[in-house]
């Protein structure tokens, strides 16, 4: 179980840490509900003598057997003429006691085993984990039944049997957490300065294992309560105390069913469900704090496209692909301001052209590309602008129409080749899938040959076709993705940082390959990268993005020789130039702005070397420079003119 350990700041005092924990926890409605349910039943158990109208196991009247609920007996009476409500209230004490003490034993054993195995490793770990594996497979309830049947069925025995058999999952969970913590920096540092093992365990490891142990404890308590009730029901409970399970055993075995006395059967079980459900909900809440999950995924419906109706509907140009005034926001449910990921970006792409899209990470490049194909995550929304492909407005298409265009018209090569391929299907199969989807009339028997041909095009041998992605190297996976992108003869390929994770030699191969394919097949390519050097050789046009807006957009030679935006100039300075070997390389200090906390005025102003007063006050508009489509957004342009 991996957890976000950053939430537990070790240096903070306990009180502050608890407060932080509580603030996160109280946002989980399930967790709070569980805590309330649990508190209620614990209070009932503590104040049992005050709540119960009759004494513990007090027979009210032997003639009042199985009397239905009334004002006198809230939950009716049982087979011995006892008040079910009183027994229920006292039964809470028994069930909770067994649950808490048994879980305490399990947690101590499991926690110790897990810590020792994880921290010391080697033979200890081997022995403990093997033993844990064995105990995990042996079914616990039958074993508990055997042991309790062979010993005295006293409450103490039951607690010990349940406790001694319930530690296995805890040991496993604690071990993996200890392993994770052990290799973290502050532990390694403590070891390096020679801290004792006891010190490291108690001061460094235990505080980080503790939260997981708490979640685990909640689970173990609920299992212990369920096990106790099952044992009691099977006739192995302590006959001198009346737990909820024992009440059910008596009622079921002594004719409540035939007497129609549902109250004697329903209420005790209701108590068990209440506690177990409360614990489960509490566990979910705690888990949410330790291991926050967003629960979002790629199949969730995307948000509808919004258009600025005030603007006249633009007329598409003759270009193959055209983005016009595209703005994309990431919205959230918590009422915070949306993150303005892309604002008012436009570009055109003609047949056989290569557009370089350049900028640092977090400048909205990928968001823009995903929006072209309407593949934004569920929080992303196109709030303005149009995308034209062959003059057709993609932002107005339905999901079904969009699926026709995806891959057969515009395909995309993602970055991070490892996860972009499905690990449990062969590469060839995943390429064939695209062909079958978009060219239904393609002769089935010809598909393997076509897949081999595509792989050959990117330099992958035919015998690798039926291999799984994990059998490929990183460069091969990237090339396989390119082969897949070519499968349905698209007119446009979007290559989203396809070379970022690869070494220089492979990078060069992939770039050459894309350039070759462009010339051979007449493809238009959008090449996304943060490396200006890469695009110099191949691009026709370059779009430089900064903080979600267009910094500069021009033909490639204009960008290199006559750039107007300081950001473009700084980017150029950051890359080596073979023709000027003595030139000093510089990097731009600072980071791109957070898209949900953009600075006032120009987004680049905080890092700009040529910044002046106006930059902090007013956002620069897009300036046309010359007649060949050179665009830059910088106040300096007005100044120089």
């Amino acid at each position: 179980m991996q957890t976000t350990l950053q939430t537990v700041e070790r240096s903070n005092p306990l009180g502050v840490r608890f407060l932080g924990f509580w603030n996160t926890f109280k946002k989980s409605r399930t967790g709070v509900l569980g805590l309330v349910m649990l508190t209620v039943i614990i209070l009932v158990a503590i104040f049992a003598p005050l709540l119960a109208p009759y004494g513990r196991l007090e027979t009210v009247s032997i003639s009042d057997i199985y009397k239905p609920p009334s004002a006198l007996h809230l939950f009716g009476t049982d087979d011995a003429g006892q008040d079910v409500f009183s027994n229920f209230v006292f039964g809470a004490r028994v069930s909770l006691t067994v649950g808490f003490f048994a879980a305490f034993i399990s947690i101590i054993i499991g926690g110790t085993f897990g810590l020792v195995a994880g921290f010391f490793g080697g033979r200890w770990e081997n022995f403990i984990m093997r033993f844990t594996d064995i105990m995990l497979v042996i079914p616990d309830l039958p074993l508990m039944v055997v042991i309790v049947a062979l010993t005295k069925p006293s409450l103490l025995n039951i607690i010990f049997v349940i406790g001694l058999l319930g530690w296995t999952t805890t040991a496993r969970v604690v071990r993996s957490q200890t392993l994770a913590v052990k290799s973290r920096k502050f532990v390694l540092r403590a070891r390096a300065i020679g801290a004792s093992r006891g010190h490291i365990i108690s001061r460094h490891i235990l505080p980080l294992v503790m939260p997981i142990l708490v979640v685990q404890a909640v689970l173990v308590i609920s299992l212990a309560i369920l096990n106790e009730s099952a044992l009691s029901f099977l006739g192995l409970g302590d006959p001198t105390t009346l737990s909820w399970g024992q009440m059910l055993n008596y009622a079921f075995g002594r004719g409540a069913m035939s007497a129609g006395a549902w109250w004697a059967l329903v209420f005790p079980g209701f108590g068990i469900v209440w506690v177990v459900l409360g614990l489960t909900l509490l566990g979910q809440g705690l888990e949410q704090v330790l291991n926050p999950r967003l629960d979002t995924h790629h199949l969730m419906p995307s948000r509808p496209v919004v258009q600025n109706e005030a603007r006249a509907k633009p007329v598409p140009s003759q270009a193959l692909l055209e983005a016009l005034n595209l703005s994309i926001h990431y919205v959230n449910d918590e009422g915070r301001a949306p993150a303005r990921a892309v604002e008012n970006v436009s570009f055109t792409l003609n047949e056989g052209e290569l557009l370089g899209l350049v900028g640092e990470s977090g400048c909205g490049k990928t968001t823009l590309m995903l929006a072209l194909l309407r593949l934004l995550p569920s929080a992303g929304q196109i709030v303005d602008g149009r995308v034209y492909f062959h003059g057709r407005d993609l932002t107005a298409l339905s999901e079904v129409e969009m699926n026709e265009i995806r891959w057969s018209g515009i395909s995309i090569v993602f970055q991070g080749a490892m996860n972009a391929l499905n690990p449990v299907r062969t590469v060839g199969d995943q390429i064939a899938e695209a062909i079958i989807k978009h060219i239904p009339l393609y002769p089935r028997e010809g598909i393997p040959a076509r897949v081999t041909e595509l792989l050959d095009l990117v330099g992958i041998a035919a015998d690798q076709r039926d291999h799984f992605p994990h059998q490929y190297s990183g460069g091969m996976r990237q090339r396989a993705l390119i082969a897949m992108a070519l499968a349905c003869n698209p007119q446009v390929i979007i290559a989203d940082e396809p070379t970022t994770a690869l070494d220089v030699m492979i990078q060069a191969q992939i770039l050459e390959l894309l350039d070759l394919l462009r010339k051979k097949l007449g493809l238009a390519i959008v090449f996304v990268t943060h490396d200006l050097g890469i695009v110099a050789e191949m691009c026709d046009k370059v779009l430089v993005m900064y903080g979600g807006v267009t910094a500069e957009y021009a033909n490639v030679d204009v960008i290199y020789n006559d750039s107007q935006h300081p950001y473009t100039q700084e980017l150029l300075k950051a890359f080596p130039d073979l023709t000027k070997p003595k030139k000093k390389l510089t990097s731009i200090p600072g980071y791109p702005p957070r898209l949900d906390a953009l600075p006032a005025g120009c987004r680049f102003a905080p890092r700009c070397p040529a910044v002046f007063d106006r930059c902090h006050a007013e956002e620069p508009s897009l300036h046309q420079i010359g007649n060949d489509g050179h665009i830059a957004s910088c106040h300096l342009i007005e100044r120089t003119r």
């Binding site: 049947a149 099952a230 069913m257 079980g269 459900l277 695209a434």
Partner: protein, 342 residues
Amino acid sequence: MNLTRAILRKAAWSVFTILFVIILNFFLFRVLPGDPARAGIRDPRLKKEAVEMLRVRFGLDKPVINCFESLNPITLGDCNVNPLDTQFFIYVRNLTQGELGISYHTNRPVADVLAERLWNTVLLIGAGQILSIIIGVALGVFAAWKARTYLDYGAVAASLVAWSLPTFWLGIILLFWGSSNGFPLAGKATPGMSSMPLLQQWGDIARHMFLPTLTYTIVYLGEYTLIMRSSLVDVLSEDYILTAKAKGLSAFQILKDHALKNAMLPLVTVIAINLGFTVAGAIQIEAVFSWPGLGSAIYEAVGRRDFPILQGAFLLIAIAVIIANFLADLTYHWLDPRVQVE
């Protein structure tokens, strides 16, 4: 490590676990005080000859184990006995011949009693598991697909409640409901049915199975739903799902061809780990519905203190769970090609 070696290792490990259970089973019933055969021997009212007769009958005249000189620094047992003449050896020898002793209550061989009942339990668990897995997976897929909508929240809430139900209690409630709705309340078949045509007999069994299977399905449904949901949400947020979406596949195609198989992997592990709990559920359900399986054999044996049955049933159940676990491991290997080369 190649596949054959991995499977052989798992198989060897399962055999080792079975041996452990066999030894544990032997010592549990000899170290713990409850067995009346031995309690009876200590009864001061018995004559010496009677005690001796009982000891011989239950094999208690033999030493428990040989001393295992080479293995153990503490001297256990007597070193001057033939190891082949110890209680432990006789127990193991009997096991290999399929002998599990004689029931105290019915005086029938335990193996015969259990053999009759084993298949009834397999039938109940099989039907319940299949139903709960199918419905649980379907609900989980639905909840994951519609994540963060009210349909999702409803499915999750229902699953949490189902998870929290004590199995036997749900059985009792359903039995209570069934008793007023004409369902048979106990057993596997109506007496006298064996003379009826086969189809009618099956119908009768199905009617008897309905409530136990329903109980079983509801109890295990919740967990499968929750696991399937979270596993599928994880898979659906992977990059390769975005690739599939970019390829123009419909949501249904993505679920069917790219997400389900991957999301099933954690479920297979959970099903394997759950097999032990599964048996726990079967014991409770059989006790409530008097379903003539291993679970009710245990329930009855507990009531009658019939220890040979208890010992035999525990052994049989433990071995069955270990084997089923091994099979689940094989399924995992078959589902996930990555495991083969690890």
